[in-house]
């Protein structure tokens, strides 16, 4: 087998990156503002319809759907991408990675550390990227099998149901803030007291908003709104969890060791990103609702390129992969999801190390 040509791979991807970033402008600014408007309308419409349950229960159901869409759009297409700095070039006071705080239980600053920094820099490097299995699931042979892995499919379902709280608690779990043995060698970038304070403060405000304030506004329809909000949050959690698992834990996604990334070149970094993610095929609506994480490969190669450009560059990226005989991991939603389920189940059992 011939040696992989990292230099050329790097050059070709850089070419896609720079030629696309050159084009970024009004069209992309319009895109993010349009999505924000759609999000606001869905959110307001949803909240109002949830209080119309007595007129007709169908209105309540539509309200739940609208509110779920609003939450998904905010978390995935707006917040995730804005917090990546994809729209910082706009110089908008409210649409930038420095000030944006998202509408989810997880504190934005914590997310920026764990996700934007750790996960995107050390993607799938075992021991560095705490997103690989979230410390809960065994998804490769890099991890020793434990008895609890037997029922890890159930753990996975629970994680999906409570996904926003999982993300929120993620950094605190890794830092052993509440439970577990403190790791001596870890440098505490943020004091535990601050992690705790921000975790509780953000989480409490999210709970108060959906389960106290809006139900109180609804007056006699208190319960309708509580249940509606609960379902909308559940739908959002399941959807975001599923999309993210499809982007990272399908069967062919590779893992890497810490030694392998010492002195890594940009080309090798691209290579690792390429093998560490998978895409979902679908239409414009699917891409929007996944926050364009259906282009997880493109997102991982160019995390701060506006998401509005991923669809356009995907064919070019795929062509480069093909040229270098690299597997471009993509498939329908169903196929990718089955692949995830298979991987979770496969590593539930102890396996002999086979590649």
């Amino acid at each position: 087998m011939t040696r992989f040509n990292y230099e050329q791979f790097e050059q070709e991807l850089d070419e896609i990156k720079f030629s696309t970033l050159d084009k970024v402008g009004q069209q992309d600014a319009n895109h993010i503002r349009r999505v924000i408007r759609q999000q606001r309308f869905c959110s307001w419409g949803g909240r109002i319809l949830l209080m119309m349950g007595l007129i007709h229960p169908a209105l309540w159901v539509v309200g739940i759907i609208l509110l779920s869409i609003a939450k998904i759009l905010e978390n995935m297409e707006i917040a995730h991408n804005v917090m990546h700095g994809q729209y910082d070039w706009m110089n908008d006071k409210h649409i930038n990675s420095k000030t944006y705080e998202w509408d989810i239980a997880c504190d934005g600053a914590s997310w920026n550390r764990i996700h934007n920094f750790e996960h995107h820099t050390y993607t799938n490097v075992i021991g560095k990227d705490r997103d690989f299995g979230y410390g809960l699931l065994r998804l490769s042979d890099d991890f020793r099998w434990r008895v609890k892995n037997l029922w890890q499919f159930i753990t996975y379902i629970n994680l999906s149901i409570l996904f926003q709280w999982g993300i929120s608690y993620h950094e605190l779990a890794g830092e052993r803030v509440f439970i577990g043995k403190k790791k001596e060698d870890r440098d505490q970038r943020v004091p535990h007291s601050e992690l705790k304070q921000r975790f509780f403060s953000k989480g409490a405000r999210q709970l108060i908003k959906d389960y106290v304030i809006f139900p109180l506004i609804a007056g006699p329809l208190f319960l309708w709104v509580i249940v509606g909000n609960l379902i909308a949050n559940l739908i959002r959690n399941l959807w975001t969890s599923t999309v993210i698992f499809c982007g990272h834990f399908t069967e062919h996604v590779h893992t890497f060791t810490e030694e392998s990334i010492v002195n890594e070149s940009q080309g090798q970094w691209y290579y690792r990103q390429a093998l560490g993610s998978s895409n979902i095929k679908g239409g414009k609506l699917l891409h929007l609702m996944t926050g364009h994480l259906s282009f997880q490969i493109e997102h991982h190669l160019f995390p701060d390129m506006p998401s509005s450009r991923y669809q356009e560059i995907a064919p070019k990226v795929e062509a480069v992969f093909k040229k270098h005989n690299l597997h471009y991991n993509t498939g329908s939603f169903g196929k990718q999801y089955l692949s995830v389920v298979k991987r979770i189940l496969q590593y539930s059992l102890p396996t002999k190390a086979v590649a």
């Binding site: 970024v24 402008g25 009004q26 069209q27 992309d28 600014a29 319009n30 503002r33 349009r34 924000i36 408007r37 606001r40 309308f41 070039w89 706009m90 110089n91 908008d92 006071k93 409210h94 420095k98 000030t99 944006y100 705080e101 998202w102 509408d103 970038r189 405000r205 108060i208 908003k209 304030i213």
Partner: protein
């Protein structure tokens, strides 16, 4: 009080600094360029003239001028344009007079464009008559206070803008000789017709259009007995030399400081800055903003001259010197503008 409470609630539950920030993209659909903390203005005229100058005439929304009082002659505004999706802000002096605003409800800016400039280079391309942009309240204290004094004014290049505004506003009230020397390349002088009109209105006002070579050949002479007030706006080198000459006399000296000159410090010293928990070594040789940018720290660059406050950070402790005012801070916590702050000690700063 009400506003504070809403903003607090909005930041708790809607995660935006203000309710208007949360609404912005929706409002902009109906009201173009609706932006929290900024005024709207409609572009009434974009007139490019020779030598890369553009006259931009704007009609600000009515709340910009309270009781019909727009600005004071000599003041400037921040102009924000959306250029290909980017909101870019620059500072321009209002070249038209407040008196003219009362009649026309318009202000005019004179903009020297630079083909390579991200902002000025794109003005004629992206700004259409009828479109909307954002402006700030007028700011600045380069004002005319010498109606009963002999006055010498020196303008270099586009430094004519505050001075033309002052003259247009005050020329009829002048009671003492007022002389303007306007330095620019041959043929690059602006507002010639207006200057002639002003000279006709009051014979105490005279002006000369000169080139730099001519200016250097015939220096303005201020001696220890003269009590002329001196006004100067132009490149920093010009202002420095006029200032030195003017201070010999007994009159007052006024200038508009737009560019921050490089800090020359014989005693270079270096300090340690903790910026968002990260340790950085810096010197007192340039501004904090420049050094933070070189170190690729997460800072925001706005106007770069201490006006727009986009680069504001919170100084927890340490001393800095404000380069616009020359003021040295105390050791306590305060907001500072990185672009005009010179470090004088070890610092702790959060973004």
């Amino acid at each position: 009080m009400f506003k504070e409470v809403t903003n607090k609630l909005v930041s708790w539950f809607l995660h935006h600094q203000s309710f208007s920030g949360y609404l912005e993209p929706v409002m902009q659909q109906f009201i173009p360029a609706w932006r929290s903390g900024s005024f709207r203005a409609q572009v009434n005229q974009v007139k490019p003239v020779d030598h890369d100058y553009v006259y931009l005439t704007l009609a600000p929304e009515s709340s910009w001028a309270i009781n019909n009082i727009s600005h004071q002659a000599g003041q400037h505004i921040e102009l924000t344009l959306e250029i290909n999706g980017r909101l870019l802000t620059r500072i321009f002096t209002i070249a038209s007079s407040p008196a003219l605003f009362k009649k026309t409800k318009e202000i005019t800016l004179l903009i020297k464009t630079n083909k390579l400039g991200r902002f000025t280079g794109a003005i004629t391309q992206f700004i259409q008559v009828g479109s909307w942009c954002n402006i700030s309240k007028p700011q600045g204290d380069f004002l005319f206070e010498s109606i009963t004094q002999q006055v010498v004014m020196v303008a270099g290049g586009s430094g004519i803008t505050p001075i033309i505004s002052m003259l247009a506003e005050h020329v009829e009230k002048l009671t003492q000789p007022t002389y303007l020397r306007y330095i620019a390349e041959t043929g690059h002088h602006q507002f010639i017709e207006l200057l002639e009109n002003l000279a006709n209105k009051n014979e105490l006002f005279t002006f000369e259009l000169v080139t730099r070579a001519q200016h250097e050949k015939i220096p303005l002479i201020f001696d220890g007995n003269s009590s002329q007030d001196v006004y100067c706006c132009g490149p920093s080198g010009l202002m420095q030399s006029i200032k030195e000459q003017a201070l010999v006399g007994q009159g007052n000296y006024f200038q508009e400081q737009f560019s921050i000159g490089a800090i020359v410090n014989e005693n270079q010293s270096s300090f340690n800055v903790i910026f968002d928990g990260e340790n950085v070594d810096i010197t007192n040789g340039t501004t904090l903003l420049e050094q933070f940018e070189q170190k690729e720290l997460n800072v925001t660059r706005g106007c770069g001259i201490g006006v727009c406050h986009q680069c504001v950070c919170n100084k927890k402790s340490g001393l800095v010197k404000n380069l616009r005012t020359g003021e040295v801070s105390d050791n306590g916590e305060q907001l500072i503008q990185l672009c005009i702050s010179q470090p004088l000690s070890d610092l702790e700063i959060t973004s």
